[in-house]
Amino acid sequence: MPRDFTPKVVTANHLLDGDVIYQTADDRWSRHHAEAELITDEAHATIRLLDAERQVDTVVGAYLADARPGTHGPEPVHFREVFRTRGPSNYAHGKQVEL
């Protein structure tokens, strides 16, 4: 039996600086996970991923990552995605200090 679709966001890295970015509902790329479009429909997710993959001069390596609704917007589910929202744990570098 196919597994139920769990909510997703489209995420990628920015071509120029490699920073983690998220696709928004109004077709922008945000550096904030909370601004991502939370996709709850599988067919829509496929279309949104294709939208992202077409933007070859802006984004690299787009994929769908599990997410869930939170107080300020979508939140990551897996620890890897949590790390991507903030940066490394050994230095105050990356999003945790830049956003």
């Binding site: 490699g18 001069d57 589910v77 620890f79 790390f83 050994n90 230095y91 570098h93």
Partner: protein
């Protein structure tokens, strides 16, 4: 040290010019990522979790002070003020912008450095004993051959699209500090009847399927070495598996066809290729390269300043006892500068620290530095009279940690703090273990110990050959750490044995503490090292201590 000739300089300039144009075409959208990726990988540029990462080769781990200063300049100018020295004697910059990378490569070329073939399915940076040319136990300096292999393999047209990456390591000493048995080809310089030759190991490697290298040839004379290596790589390149990434390394070929069958294939190929090397151009080149590595003129002056400091200063003495190794020349020592200050990131150095080490090398150490696969920096030729001054300068720069070969001298890959392939974090685990044992003041009591941590199955942190190996995995969305015991990366190479179920992120430090307290209670006397205790008793007593519930259930 090898000095670039005009050909080397032109080659590198042309290669950098090509890559600059490729980056421009990627940024303006005329190259897709799919087209660009193999090109950037050939030039050491990865895209990691949070940013791009540039991996710069430090061929066989050897640097001069000008090169080290340039690494510092790159760190400051285009990164966040530091660099990460890796287990393959490379340096990684974790935060470059794509558009800056061509400038970084040009800056590296100014001092004869590059990032070519530090990634991709090519022959990678050749690693060597970090004490090469200095060690008291050495048969011959392995770096001339390493440089020969670098030149031969760089842009080698036959070996640019191989089934998988290919790694060489070489040692010139019987005490193997280069982990040669864990490489696709490991070379060991040996002497037979006054002649120098090479024992060729094949099919070693860690990763998903860890294997210890097997002896393909006991003794290959210098004039046959390059054609023999070329034949070996060519055979694998032709028949190695390309259908499955996880079965593509030469270790799998050795396993599937058998060592004897592979040897027969290599020898057949060798007889075909040997005539191409007629005329001995490779041997002449090796001799020419060897001239670049002539040892410095060692002085014979008294070591009184050292002796006095050793007798009177306990901090200096402690550092000297752990961080110095015997040098081939009287009155000299090999200094290992620890990049493992407890609580810091293993292998990281700031730009300022790099400059301090460069200055010390220039002033006191014949202008030479080495990077070890254990992620430390070496001053290979230091007269002992300079050691007190060197120690004082290192101390002022936060580089005088006296812990080489001890519990806090941990190898750790970048793990999920940086690496896109990682399944768990490595760095904070290393930081916490080092800090914990520093607090317990048990480091010197425990004695020689190699802890190696990898954040995924690819084993960049060499966990299989750690006395204590730690492998970070993702178990149902949670970080989980498996432990192996009894691994050994030396000439007696052994893959460690897994203890059992893994430990959670907040349990792993406690588990290591349990193992080491068990060791302290079981060792025959303080001279028996952890590895010796492990070999004498096996892993059973450690398992019993780690999993007391299992014992209860069995009873």
């Amino acid at each position: 040290m090898y000095r670039y000739n005009e050909f080397d300089r032109d080659f590198l300039a042309e290669r950098n010019r090509q890559f600059r144009a490729q980056v421009e075409r990627r940024i303006d959208g005329s190259l897709t990522e799919e087209e660009f990726k193999p090109l950037r990988l050939m030039n050491g540029l990865y895209l990691q979790l949070h940013a791009y990462m540039l991996r710069v080769a430090i061929p066989y781990g050897t640097l001069n002070s000008a090169q080290m200063r340039q690494l510092a300049y790159l760190a400051e100018r285009w990164d966040k003020g530091y660099g990460h020295f890796t287990t393959r004697q490379n340096i990684q910059y974790n935060w470059p912008r794509l558009s800056d990378v061509p400038d970084m490569l040009d800056a590296l070329a100014e001092v004869g450095l590059h990032a070519i073939q530090t990634s991709g399915n090519t022959i990678r940076n050749v690693t060597a004993d970090h004490f090469a040319g200095a060690a008291a136990d050495e048969v011959a300096d392995p770096r001339p051959v390493a440089e020969l292999i670098r030149q031969w393999s760089t842009d080698h047209p036959e070996f640019q699209f191989m089934p998988r990456k290919f790694k060489f390591a070489i040692t010139g000493a019987p005490n193997d500090r280069a982990v040669t048995a864990a490489h696709d080809i490991g070379l060991r310089i040996v002497e037979r009847g006054g002649e120098i030759g090479y024992t060729v190991l094949v099919g070693g490697g860690l990763g998903r399927t860890p294997m210890i290298g097997k002896v393909l040839a006991e003794f290959i004379p210098a004039e046959d070495l390059l054609p023999y290596l070329e034949a070996t790589v060519a055979v694998w390149n032709a028949i190695g598996r390309r259908d499955n990434k996880f079965k593509a390394r030469i270790k799998i070929l050795v396993h599937e066809v058998g060592l004897d069958a592979l040897r027969a294939e290599v020898e057949e190929e060798f007889t075909l290729r040997k005539p191409l090397y007629a005329g001995g151009r490779d041997v002449a080149l090796l001799e020419e390269i060897a001239g670049h590595f002539a040892p410095p003129e060692f002085e014979t002056t008294p070591t009184e300043t050292y002796d006095a400091a050793y007798a009177s200063d306990p901090v200096f003495r402690s550092w000297a006892d752990t961080n110095l190794a015997p040098h081939r020349a009287d009155g000299y020592a090999i200094v290992t500068v620890s990049l493992k200050k407890q609580g810091d990131t293993p292998g990281d150095a700031t730009a300022d620290q790099m400059r301090v080490m460069a200055d010390l090398a220039e002033r006191y150490a014949h202008d030479e530095l080495r990077i070890s696969h254990e992620q430390n920096v070496i001053l290979p030729h230091v007269h002992k009279r300079h050691l007190p001054a060197i120690h004082a300068a290192l101390k002022a720069a936060g580089l005088a940690t006296a812990n080489i070969g001890l519990v806090s001298d941990i190898i750790a890959c970048p793990g999920m703090d940086y690496c896109a392939l990682a399944t768990a974090r490595s760095i904070p685990v290393a930081q916490q273990i080092a800090t914990r044992f520093d607090e317990l003041k048990l480091e010197h009591e425990i004695g020689p110990l190699k802890i190696k941590i990898s954040g995924c199955i690819n084993a960049c942190g060499h966990h299989h050959v750690g006395h204590i190996g730690i492998l970070g995995l993702d178990r149902a969305g949670v970080e989980n750490y498996q432990i192996t015991l009894g691994g050994d990366g030396t000439e007696d190479a052994v893959i460690g044995t897994r203890t059992g179920p893994g430990f959670a992120y907040d349990e792993i430090v406690g588990a290591v503490e349990t193992i080491l307290k068990t060791y302290l209670s079981l060792r025959e006397d303080p001279s028996e090292t952890f590895l010796q205790t492990c070999r004498r008793l096996g892993i059973a007593p450690f398992k019993a201590a780690l999993y007391p519930e299992a014992k209860t259930r069995a009873a």
